[in-house]
Amino acid sequence: MEKAAIPLHQVFWMFVCSRFILNLVSNPFFNELANDRDIIPALIIGVPVQLIYAVPFLLLWLKYPERSLIEYSSSILGRFLGKIVGLLYIGYFLMQTAITVRFFDDFLVTRFFYHTPMEAIGLGLLVIVVYAVYMGVEVIGRCASVLVPVIFFGMLLLVALAFSQAHGYNVAPTWETSPGEFMITMLPTATRWSELAWTAVLFPLIRKRQNIKPAVFGGIIFVNFLFFIVNVSVVAIFGPVSVKNIRFPTLEMVQSVSVGEFLDRVESLVLGLWVFGAFVKTAIFFYVCVQCVTEWFKLKDRKPLIIPMGIIVYLLSILLFSNIVELSIFSGTVIPIDFAFTFLLPLLMLLIYFVKKPFQKRSS
């Protein structure tokens, strides 16, 4: 089995990209807020919520620095239960990969390629992803560290260009939401940190992994910073009510860029950024799927698994949803699933670990 090593800064970029790229396309966050005018306080209150949310998984990673989630779930929960939990995580990662591919398809078909069948677009993406996963996780890490800064600065530039369309009164907070409500409305945003789960699988492959805290917390803060800039501008441009009806808010914001009436129609840029990001995110999740299955079956080589699993992801991405409405509703129904896999299960495992620890010491 290969022993890969990803430097921490690449983990940071992978972590960041994987989280924000879907939200640059469709953002359920606008519909979760009770009142989109209160977006600024909501986003600020959201940061500590998300930081606390990451703690159980972080502690769990550090307890088993040499083993991955699939391996230590068995040693914590026992062979049978541990295997079941591992299987559940494999399903979770497969689902996440399929959703990402599907969002990519639907976005491109709705806005750019009206006549191209969705299947062709998904296939195009997955072929590159399969190739990247063949080449290993270092390749994905290097891609992320090159592409994600480009995406980030590209987004900053686009927001700056679109800013002349913004109206401050659209984001003037009315403070109708109480602090408790803010916490609750920001919880779905926190549950979308499925990156915590894949880091648990890749953790043994990270170089200097004992110092992961700044990378993870820094990543969460960095993503929230980007969300703040993008989402507040979007609400300021479109108004707190109509933003809820817009399917691709960030794209529409970029479409509204018009600098001095000559720099117009720059949305192909956001398309490029989004294709980069979608590739990185799909590649990470797909790599993790393959890695999990390899470890679950205790296989020596992951390569024979890649193409069959690619086909599974491809079919899932087509078959899981029959239309875009189901897909958007799904991002709401997936919240408890996300919550279970990114918070509840790791917390449970951590508690069991602490309960078992004194007994294990005594027996040894």
Partner: protein
Amino acid sequence: MHNKRKRSSFTGLIRRCVALGLILPLMAGTAGCWDRTEVEKLAIVAGLGIDFIPGPEPILLTVQIVNPSGLQKGGGGSSSPPFLTLSATGATILDAMRNFAKASPHRLFYGHTNVIIFGDRMAREGLHPVMDYLARAPEFRRTFWILVTPATAKEILSVKLDLEDIPALGVTEMVKEFRQSAAAVIERQKDFLSGISSKSGAAPVSRLELLDADASINERLQEVTAGDSQQTSMPAQGKKQLRLNGTAAFRKDKLVGYLSDAESRGLLWITGKLNGGSVIMPCPEDQQHKISFHIERTKSKVIPYFRDGKLNIKIDIEEESSIAEVSCDKLDVSKPETIKQLEELQAKDIEARIKSTVEKCQALRADILRFGDTAYTRFPKLWKERYEEDWPDHFANLPVAVKVTSKIRRAGMTSKSGGTTK
């Protein structure tokens, strides 16, 4: 050793073949051939107009299509016009668009549509069904300008402008120019939707009218010269012009009435969008002559407050101007007292304009001044309890106070009127 090298070159070959097999389908995909469109097969729509005709097919679409061969100048004197105007009716907007396809061999491309003009009747029927299509269709962006005409959109799009080859592009230029000089409130689609969905529930839209300006000027000139025996023979051209004039007030998605040009400027004063412009008023002691000011800087603030449990609105405006022309006989602008007097007079004049705008909006029961939204931001709870329901009625009876502070900073390059000492 030799054997191993041979094997590695063989696996290398396989690898290369696999890579080639992966790249080939990608090449087909990246070219995006499925959605290719040849540019000569497209008919580029420069302007779109929508009218309402009661009946089974109520939507009348009028498009102005750019005709590239007509735009070539000096090329052998081709007689084809630079634009074509097509119309089609349909039960819905998409239906009407499909009906174009029956008449035109090219696919209509709306990606460059910057202006959408609504006829009066369409606007009064409600824009909701049309706006839904325009927000859903990917070709339209949310930044196109919305204009309303008291005539029909078809008439507007059939007019040929003097200096512009394509009228719809001319209208776009006009819109941009007007925004610079701040003569009218012009809304993009996104701001219109944001306005009617806000707590105010109303939005202003600029009004575009078809004017026979030449004819009316000629008429007046003829009145002046009527006494003379020599007839001025002005050619009765009857050439129509487009003019952005006034504002259409929408309550929700329906047009409820128009504001005049002067009232529209009051609207700009209140919303703080005024940018340049002028104030013209009669001289203090003689009504015949005029004095005009150039507006340098304005700042406006709408302050909602509660008095005795009732919502009040206070509009605070600070204005800085310079004297542009003085034709008064007895006015000495070089004295500080005169400046003070003029400042007060100017403030009163602006106050009166703003009051007339507010009264007009209240009469139309359309809160295009964003009072509702401002009050809601400041007092969300009270506003929701007492005013959210029937806001238009509350708005119509809202006490509004206007306070203008006017400052004259400069007086141009001459000190006394006319540049001559009398």
